[in-house]
């Protein structure tokens, strides 16, 4: 800015300077607040990478991905991540098999069939499920769902992936239902009218027009749900078991990556030991999994984004 010709600063200009300084300070505070989240993310990635690096000095990457046993705390230690990955994938797959159909159908019902009043009652209740602590879901799986399943499969162990997966599925229904419903409601009314005007029924309109029009939002909801399921800890730690077990059979007991991390983190392993470092390697794999799902989700969203 050019220097003012006058030497005395008018009261108005003085006020402006004060205001500008104040604005700058506020801006700085806001930016710092935003930086906390970003910095934390980078710090987490940094720590994970650093500790994993020392882990991979002892254990080769090949062994890590090919060994079929995960027993870092035993005398005869094996460091194959696959048993944990199989547990994570199996429980997540069960959860999705439960949550995707129920969540999608609920979303279609809420968006296309329910009256305004019904929706206003049901949606908040559905979203209330999100607020239930996951540890409660874990006990629900262990003491309610598993005994119920045992009446069908008497040989089912008390800790099993099926019960944990089903309950985890129920837990993520609200995510899918709520986000998908938002996506469907964003479909312009003119598109529905076009369908009705062709003589389509409500159901035909919902399935053939509204759902395809909202597909990018619906897929985004699925991806978020997958990330939730893969990262979910308490339910699987409590109800699926603590034994790493390379199996995709839902009727077996098996530990997931998250369950293993909880187990080790709660124990008293010496800092810097190989067992201690193993949880960082496991955490890195977990983060890579959720990150890749998020990237796929982002890509799908971009690819199928509809312009109305």
């Amino acid at each position: 800015m050019q220097a003012p010709a006058q030497l005395t600063i008018s009261p108005r200009l003085a006020k402006n300077i004060r205001r500008n300084v104040k604005e700058r300070i506020i801006e700085l505070i806001l930016m710092l607040a935003a930086l906390v989240a970003v910095a934390t993310t980078f710090a987490i990635v940094g720590v994970l990478l650093y500790e994993s690096l020392s882990f991979f000095k002892t254990v080769s990457v090949v062994e890590f991905f090919t060994d079929t046993q995960w027993t870092p705390l035993f005398e005869d230690a094996h460091y194959g991540i696959m048993p944990l990955v199989s547990g994570t994938l199996t429980t997540s797959a069960i959860a999705l098999a439960v949550a995707v159909p129920i969540g999608t159908v609920s979303a279609i019902f809420l968006s296309e069939f329910a009256s305004h009043k019904t929706r206003e009652i049901i949606k908040p209740i559905l979203e209330l499920l999100v607020g239930v602590p996951t540890v409660v879901f874990g006990y629900f799986a262990l003491f309610f769902v598993t005994p119920m399943l045992q009446t069908i499969y008497p040989d089912l162990p008390s800790f099993n992936m099926l019960g944990a997966g089903i309950v985890m599925g129920v837990m993520i229904i609200p995510y899918i239902a709520s986000m998908s419903e938002d996506a469907m409601r964003a479909v312009p009314m003119s598109m529905r009218e076009g369908s009705y005007a062709m003589g389509a029924t409500r159901f035909q309109t919902a399935i053939k027009v509204v759902t395809p029009a909202a597909i990018s939002g619906i897929v985004a909801a699925y991806i978020l749900a997958i990330s939730r399921a893969v990262g979910e800890t308490m339910v699987v730690a409590i109800a699926a078991g603590q034994q790493p077990n390379l199996t995709f059979n839902p009727l077996d007991s098996a530990a997931t990556i998250t369950a293993y991390i909880v187990q080790v983190a709660m124990g008293d392993l010496p800092h810097g030991s190989i067992g201690y470092q193993s949880i960082f390697a496991a955490g890195l794999v977990l983060m890579a999994m959720t990150l890749s799902f998020n990237i796929i989700g982002h890509w799908v969203r971009k690819k199928y984004r509809e312009s109305y």
Binding site: S190, A197, M198, A200, K208, P212, A213
Partner: protein, 259 residues
């Protein structure tokens, strides 16, 4: 009315319409639609012309609380489309509609046109192919899209999308086609194409068109109805309305003194 020998395709009889908030949007409208003719509805914004048009295919049924009173009778079978016992889906199978803004579905060009046939349960690919081609030709779009029938409809230009919507409406052989300001979102060239198309379609079906554009009504329609505040003020030959209107209100609107 001058041309009394023309057959009547549909007829509104003392039609009243109430929105869910109780507002009376149409006040005792009685008017015939002549077969294979284009009837234009003109009038200032909020006069009820779109509301009237949307009564014909029961679009108001989509929103709870709306109420019809009176009749819209279709000939030759004398069906009152507003009768509570008549299924609105049946009505929409006979009376199709083209909207103000092109509203293609998030599907391919082919599937957009086939949509009406599919919801009617048609699955035979040969019949479908023929119908789609015929409808696209009818909407003067075939030559532009025949090599990319499986492209997404959103990739077409606005004018092409609107012709696609006309093809979609044509594919099911409707008896009446409703146009709700079909060119208000289009550029002049696309508008001219649509107008030309409407005149061509007249030989196949009966057309009712709402328009904000008086020149358009004068160019394409055979009959014109002037509406104001939910009432039908005057209905006559288009030539008569635009050259020698019977009512002072119509003349004021036509000459731009009002509206």
């Amino acid at each position: 009315m001058a041309n009394v020998t023309t057959a009547i395709k549909a007829e509104a009889r003392d039609l009243n319409f109430f929105y869910s908030n109780g507002a009376r949007a149409l006040k005792g409208i009685s008017m015939p639609l002549y077969e294979n003719k284009i009837t234009a509805l003109i009038g200032p914004s909020g006069c009820g012309k779109s509301t009237f048009l949307r009564c014909f295919n029961r679009m108001h049924d989509l929103y709870p609380g709306n109420k019809y009173q009176g009749e819209i009778v279709m000939h030759p079978d004398n069906t009152n489309v507003l009768d509570a016992g008549v299924d609105p889906i049946e009505v929409r199978m006979r009376i199709s509609m083209v909207f103000q803004k092109p509203n293609p579905f998030p599907k391919s060009i082919y599937e957009n046109v086939a949509y009406g046939l599919r919801v009617r349960g048609e699955n035979n690919k040969r019949i479908m192919d023929d119908k789609v081609e015929e409808a696209l030709k009818g909407a003067a779009l075939w030559n532009e899209v025949k090599d990319r029938l499986h492209d997404l409809a959103f990739n077409l230009s606005g004018g092409q999308q609107q012709r696609l919507c006309i093809a979609r409406a044509l594919a099911t052989d409707p008896e009446i086609m409703l146009f709700d300001e079909p060119t208000s979102a289009l550029d002049p060239i696309a508008t001219a194409n649509i107008e030309e198309l409407m005149v061509e379609l007249r030989s196949k079906l009966t057309i009712l068109v709402v328009t904000h554009n008086m020149q358009q009504a004068a160019r394409v329609s055979d009959y014109t109805a002037y509406m104001y505040l939910g009432e039908l003020i005057e209905y006559d030959d288009t030539d008569k309305i635009f050259t020698n209107p019977g009512r002072k209100e119509t003349e004021d609107y036509i000459t731009g003194k009002f509206g």
